[in-house]
C-alpha cells in the first residue's frame, strides 16, 4: 500500500487543480451545450466517487453499497421539491442530511463487523432501501421514479446549472481535502493501515469509522441532489447495486490511494460511456474488459501510476 496519501498533493498539485478550475470556468463560454452537460454530469459523478473513496480508499472500509446513499439524497431532494411547498434550500440541506442519517443507521450496524461481513451487510441493508423505493408507488413513484422535477428558479439555463454544480463540487472537494488532512483524516488512514495498533494506542476505531461513513454518505447525498438539479428526474436505478460497483471502478481507475484519482476515474468512465455508447450497445462488455485490464496491469490506477512515475524521475 503506498504510504503518505496526503503528501501526494504537493504545491504542484495545488497549481494544477487551480489551473483546471479556471479552465473549467471558461469552458461554457465557447463549448456546445452537450459538452457542458457532459461536464456537469462528470462533476456530479466525481463528487460521488470522491465520497466513496473517502471510506473505501482512505478508510479501508468495504463500503459496497454507496449508491444507496446517493439515491436517498436524490430522492429526498426530489420529494421535497415535488410533494411539499418548502423552499428549495430546505431540499439542499435535506438531501445530504437524509443520506447522512441513513449512513449513520446502516453504518452503526456495519462497523461492528469485520471486512467482508461489513460489505455483505451493507449490500443487504442498501438493497432493502432499493426494494422499498422500487415498490412504494404512492410515495416514490415506484419503478417509474419521479420525472419533471422543477429546477430552482436561479438555475434557469444549463450554463447556470454548470457553474452551480462546479462551485458546490469544488467546495465539497476542498472540505474533503481538509478533512483528510485533519487529525481525524490521518487517524482514519492509520486505522486502514493497522487497526489493531490504533486500537492499542487508544483510538476508538469504530467511532472513527462510523464518522467517516456519515461524512462520506452526506457527500454522496449532496451528489444525489446535484444529479436531480442536472437531470430533473429520479429512478430507483440510482440506488441499485450495480451503480455502487461502477463507482468502485471509477475509484480503482483513477487510483485508490490518491486524493484526486476518483475525479479522473469518474471523468474517464462518464466520457467513455457517452462516446463509446454512441457506437456500440455493448458498453458493459467494454467496461468489463477495461476493469480486467486495470486489475491485472494498473491496480494503482491512472493517477497512482503517473504519480509513481513522476516520483521515480525526480
Amino acid at each position: 500500500m503506498p504510504k503518505g496519501v496526503a503528501n501526494l498533493i504537493p504545491r504542484r498539485g495545488l497549481w494544477s487543480a487551480g489551473g483546471i478550475f479556471f479552465a473549467l470556468l471558461i469552458v461554457p463560454q465557447f463549448a456546445p451545450e452537450f459538452y457542458v452537460y457532459i461536464l456537469t454530469l462528470i462533476f456530479v459523478t466525481a463528487l460521488l466517487a470522491m465520497s466513496l473513496n473517502l471510506v473505501i480508499g482512505h478508510g479501508g472500509l468495504f463500503q459496497f453499497h454507496h449508491a444507496a446513499f446517493y439515491g436517498v439524497g436524490a430522492y429526498a431532494f426530489a420529494l421535497i421539491l415535488t410533494k411539499t411547498s418548502l423552499p428549495v434550500w430546505v431540499g439542499f440541506i435535506a438531501g445530504p442530511l437524509t443520506a447522512a442519517v441513513m449512513g449513520l443507521l446502516i453504518g452503526w450496524f456495519c462497523v461492528r463487523l469485520s471486512q467482508l461481513y461489513f460489505g455483505m451487510l451493507q449490500i443487504s441493508l442498501g438493497s432493502l432501501i432499493w426494494a422499498i423505493v422500487f415498490r412504494w408507488y404512492k410515495f416514490t413513484g415506484g419503478d417509474d421514479g419521479i420525472h419533471g422535477i422543477p429546477r430552482p428558479s436561479f438555475l434557469s439555463s444549463s450554463n447556470k446549472v454548470y457553474y452551480f454544480v462546479l462551485l458546490i463540487v469544488t467546495f465539497c472537494l476542498i472540505v474533503m481535502y481538509l478533512i483528510l488532512k485533519s487529525p481525524f483524516g490521518r487517524t482514519l488512514q492509520a486505522i486502514r493501515d493497522n487497526p489493531q495498533r490504533c486500537e492499542a494506542v487508544g483510538v476508538n476505531v469504530r467511532r472513527h469509522q462510523l464518522m467517516a461513513i456519515v461524512i462520506a454518505t452526506s457527500f454522496a447525498g449532496m451528489a444525489g441532489v446535484l444529479f436531480v438539479v442536472l437531470e430533473r428526474f429520479v429512478v430507483p436505478d440510482l440506488l441499485f447495486w450495480t451503480l455502487s460497483l461502477e463507482i468502485l471502478i471509477m475509484c480503482l481507475l483513477g487510483g485508490w490511494f490518491t486524493f484526486a484519482g476518483p475525479v479522473l476515474g469518474a471523468a474517464l468512465i462518464v466520457a467513455l460511456r457517452t462516446f463509446v455508447g454512441k457506437y456500440t450497445e455493448y458498453w458493459t462488455l467494454i467496461l468489463g474488459i477495461i476493469l480486467i485490464l486495470l486489475i491485472f496491469f494498473l491496480p494503482e490506477g491512472v493517477m497512482g501510476y503517473f504519480l509513481r512515475i513522476s516520483e521515480r524521475s525526480r
Binding site: 473505501i56 468495504f62 459496497f64 450496524f109 461492528r112 463487523l113 471486512q115 467482508l116 461481513y117 460489505g119 455483505m120 451487510l121 449490500i123 443487504s124 441493508l125 438493497s127 432493502l128 432499493w130 426494494a131 422499498i132 422500487f134 415498490r135 412504494w136 408507488y137 441499485f240 447495486w241 450495480t242 460497483l245 468502485l248 471502478i249 480503482l252 450497445e281 455493448y282 458493459t284 462488455l285 467496461l287 468489463g288 474488459i289 476493469l291 480486467i292 486489475i295 491485472f296 491496480p299
Partner: protein
C-alpha cells in the same frame, strides 16, 4: 394493511409456492456460499452465470425438442456454465488469489459485466421460454387451488441437491479438502495439497450450481436479460443471513426468504417484495453474523 380475507387453504398453497421458490434459491445460494466459504470472494458473477444457465437450457431444449430436450438441457446446461467458469478461473482468476479481497470482488464484477453482454450478444434482448416435459405441465389441485406440477418437481430437486452436497462435503476426499481449505488454507497447502486447484474446483462447483439453478428455473419464468439482477441481490442477502460460507445456512436463509415472500403476497401484495427484506433485517438485528455459524 388492507384487510383481506384469506383462507387456510390459500395459506397452504401459497406456502408451497414459497417452498418451491426457496428450492431454486437454495440451489443458487448454496453455490454462492460454497465459493464464498472456500475462496472468500463474494462472486458477483453468480447471477450472470445463473442467467447463462437459463439461456443455455433454452437453446439445448429447443434444439433437441420435446421432453428429451428438457432433460438433456437440465443435465448439460450446468456443465456449459461450469466450463465457462473453469476457463475464466484458470485463464484469469487464479492469478489473483494473492491480491486483496476488493480486487477479487471487482474481478467477479468484470466477469458478470462481460458475461451478461455476451448473453445479450448471443441470444439478444427478447424473451424466451423453456417448455417443461408434458408430464410436468399443468396443475394439480392442492388445498383446493391449482398448483403447478413443475413446482413439485422443484420440491424434489431441492432436497436431492442438498443431499448430494452433504455427501460431497462430508463423504468425498475432495469435499473434505474444500471444507478444510475454507477453515485454514495455509494448513491445507502445508499438507502438500495444491490449493490453487482446490479453489478452481470449489469455484467450478459453485458456478455449476448457479447454472443448475438457472436451468431449473427456466420453465417457470420468462428467460430474459436482467433476470440475474434481482436474483443476485436475493442470493447475497440469503448467504448473509445464513452465515457466510455455510451451505446449510443458505438452506435456512432460502426457506425464510422464499416463504416470507410468498406469504407476503397474501397479506400485502403491493409490498410482497419488501417482506423478505424485512425478515432479513430482523435476522441481522438479532444475529448480525447470520443464523448459522460462518465457516471462518
Amino acid at each position: 394493511m388492507p384487510g383481506q380475507s384469506f383462507s387456510f387453504a390459500a395459506l397452504g398453497s401459497q406456502f408451497l409456492v414459497g417452498l418451491s421458490r426457496a428450492m431454486i434459491l437454495f440451489i443458487v445460494c448454496a453455490g454462492l456460499s460454497f465459493v464464498l466459504g472456500v475462496l472468500r470472494v463474494p462472486n458477483v458473477a453468480h447471477g450472470a452465470l445463473y442467467m447463462l444457465g437459463a439461456f443455455s437450457a433454452y437453446t439445448i431444449s429447443t434444439r433437441i425438442g420435446g421432453s428429451a430436450g428438457f432433460w438433456l438441457a437440465l443435465v448439460l446446461a450446468p456443465w456449459v456454465v461450469a466450463l465457462v467458469s473453469l476457463i475464466a478461473e484458470r485463464a484469469l482468476f487464479c492469478h489473483l488469489y494473492q491480491r486483496e479481497h476488493l480486487m477479487l470482488l471487482l474481478f467477479t464484477f468484470a466477469l458478470s459485466l462481460i458475461l451478461s453482454d455476451l448473453v445479450k450478444f448471443v441470444w439478444g434482448a427478447t424473451y424466451r421460454s423453456v417448455l417443461a416435459p408434458s408430464f410436468l405441465k399443468g396443475f394439480v389441485p392442492v388445498f383446493g387451488s391449482p398448483f403447478p406440477r413443475y413446482n413439485f418437481f422443484l420440491l424434489i430437486m431441492g432436497p436431492l441437491v442438498a443431499v448430494g452436497l452433504w455427501l460431497f462435503t462430508n463423504k468425498t476426499r475432495m469435499g473434505k479438502i474444500c471444507r478444510a481449505a475454507a477453515v485454514d488454507r495455509e494448513m491445507v497447502g502445508a499438507l502438500g495439497i495444491n490449493v490453487s486447484w482446490v479453489f478452481a474446483a470449489a469455484f467450478v462447483i459453485g458456478c455449476y450450481l448457479a447454472g443448475l439453478g438457472g436451468a431449473l428455473v427456466a420453465p417457470t419464468v420468462s428467460v430474459t436479460l436482467g433476470m440475474d439482477h434481482t436474483l443476485i441481490i436475493e442470493a447475497f442477502l440469503i448467504v448473509t443471513i445464513g452465515g457466510l460460507g455455510n451451505i446449510w445456512g443458505a438452506l435456512v436463509g432460502s426457506l425464510l426468504f422464499g416463504i416470507t415472500q410468498s406469504l407476503g403476497v397474501l397479506f400485502w401484495p403491493q409490498f410482497a417484495i419488501v417482506f423478505p427484506y424485512v425478515a432479513v433485517v430482523i435476522v441481522l438485528l438479532l444475529r448480525p453474523r447470520g443464523l448459522l455459524k460462518s465457516v471462518w
